[in-house]
Amino acid sequence: MKKKILMRGNEAVGEAALLAGCKAYFGYPITPQNEIPEYLSTRLPERGGVFLQAESEIGAINMVMGAAAAGVRTMTTTSSPGMTLKQESISYLAGNELPCVIVNMVRGGPGLGNISGAQSDYFQATRSGHGDFRSIVLAPENVQELADHTIKAFELSDKYRMIAIVLGDGYLAQMSEPLVLPDPVKSAPERSYALTGAKGREQRIIASLRLIPETSLDAHNHDLQKKYAEVKKNEVLFDTYKTDDADYVLVAYGLSARIAKQAVRNLRNSGIKAGLFRPITLWPFPSDQLEALSKKTKKMLAVEMSMGQMVEDVKLSVKGNVEVDFYGRTGGMLPEIDKIVERVKSYE
């Protein structure tokens, strides 16, 4: 059995990127994710990879675009305001169908906000950029999953030629927990699109400009939607805890889900049948599974470290079968177990 080691969230992401075969990292300093570039600044060049501190968040994501076009696994990491700055190029990456991984250790907003953990970037992760496109969004709840999801993000991103976002938060980034390091990824896929010089073959062009409305841009968007439908069909991830007989279901992801789980235990101890539904992929959102659950549930409560973002997807998913309540704290505050318990008890 592999040994458990103690690692900080940010460092686990850095190590997992190495294990996933990331060959090029570009980033810009922003708290609370700085330990990721610091970790990779020595470890990546040691393995023959590229580490470069960019002049800006915008510079970093565009360097990622260049490296992705060049045909290697590549990553950038950031925190909320930085993620906003990257949005234009995120759309270009999606239009170009270039794979890359972006880790966003979410902090409190709006504006400069603060550097504590928050979940108020759900919208900008799942509905980002201009144009009709999607990115895969994974939401880890502990340091082990931060590492596992980083590797998974690289694999999904290559499989579908899409951006894969790992949506952590400032607390996960900074907390140290035991984890078992995942196995290194051995192979990366063939990249028939990679720009390697046109020697002995036709030139390759990576471009998102599609000037002819019907035959190029409209058609391209339909192709993208087909791909997104495949992702929806194959890649939805979620977890449930005591939902089988639950009258009340808490819906929470990431760190909020860990808090909500304890609330479920406390509620069960006082005789209330509560359960927890945890979306792991925020896009594709586990809508069908949540809808099925809504048919045998009296009420749902979305718990978030935000003022209510994921709750909108919960409401859309349950199609009015059940009432969806919301409880959230933000700006560095965590949802309180007692408050969750109290709220659910008020449903009785």
Partner: protein, 252 residues
């Protein structure tokens, strides 16, 4: 009989989308000729800007990618860092390189990224319809300066080569113009030198080329008006000169 002219083999023989009298066609041909002479097209990756030259990759038999507006040198950085043995060319206009992309430009230059930057300065935003550019001349009429550029309000045109020349790492910096045959030939020499240095794995090479946009300058492309405007208005403000050539210094 010997052949004295042929269409560059490095270029795709397709009609370009540029207006009559546009600088880009001439600059493209010079690049194509240099690529032929140095036999590098198959080893080159072209980064296109947003602007009139957005389709530049279509005209060369090289791999190419389009960049978001102003970010060409960041995208080129990602490529050149991964493919150290390839030649990367970033082809950009003035709005792209010196307004929205100023940070990317200065920092790629400052890091001495291994790339050729071809900077076509025509003192205007072409594709969006002739608005004021960072290099628009004082008093120049554009669609956003209908009474002429007022330098009290909007500052003076930015000199790209001079900015880049304040940095330590760039390897080769030259400003050229294509307003007559002599200068076209000089421009070709500069482009060729920049590509030669890339072939040798040298650093950041920046070639600024002053050129015409008769369409948005409101000038007749069939007369010499636009060409003369480059010579008479732009050249005195943007001096044509070799700012730096580290190759010469090391050879000497």
């Amino acid at each position: 009989m010997s052949k004295i002219y042929e269409f560059p083999k490095s270029m795709n023989n397709v009609p370009t989308h540029y207006c009559t009298g546009c600088a880009h066609g001439i600059v493209h041909k010079l690049i194509g000729q240099c690529m032929d002479e140095l036999k590098i097209v198959e080893n080159t990756i072209v980064v296109a800007p947003v602007g009139c030259a957005v389709l530049v990759y279509k005209y060369f038999k090289a791999d190419g990618i389009e960049s978001p507006h102003g970010r060409a040198q960041a995208v080129a950085t990602g490529i050149t860092r991964v493919h150290k043995d390839k030649i990367v060319m970033s082809y950009q206009g003035d709005g792209d390189l010196l307004a929205i992309g100023t940070a990317e430009t200065l920092h790629a230059a400052n890091r001495g990224e291994k790339m050729v930057v071809i900077f076509v300065n025509n003192a205007i935003y072409g594709m969006t319809g002739g608005q004021m550019a960072p290099t628009t001349m004082a008093k120049q009429v554009t669609s956003t300066t209908p009474n002429g550029r007022d330098t009290d309000e909007t500052g003076h045109p930015i000199r790209g080569c001079e900015l880049i020349n304040s940095l330590e790492k760039p390897y080769y910096i030259e400003r050229c113009s294509i307003h007559d045959i002599k200068h076209i030939n000089k421009t070709k020499e500069a482009i060729k030198k920049a590509f030669e240095y890339q072939k040798e794995g040298k650093g950041y090479c920046f070639v600024e080329i002053l050129g015409m946009c008769p369409t948005n300058w409101g000038m007749d492309p069939y007369s010499r008006t636009a060409i003369n405007w480059v010579k008479d208005e732009m050249v005195p403000y943007f001096p044509l000169k070799l700012f730096r050539d580290k190759g010469v210094r090391t050879n000497a």
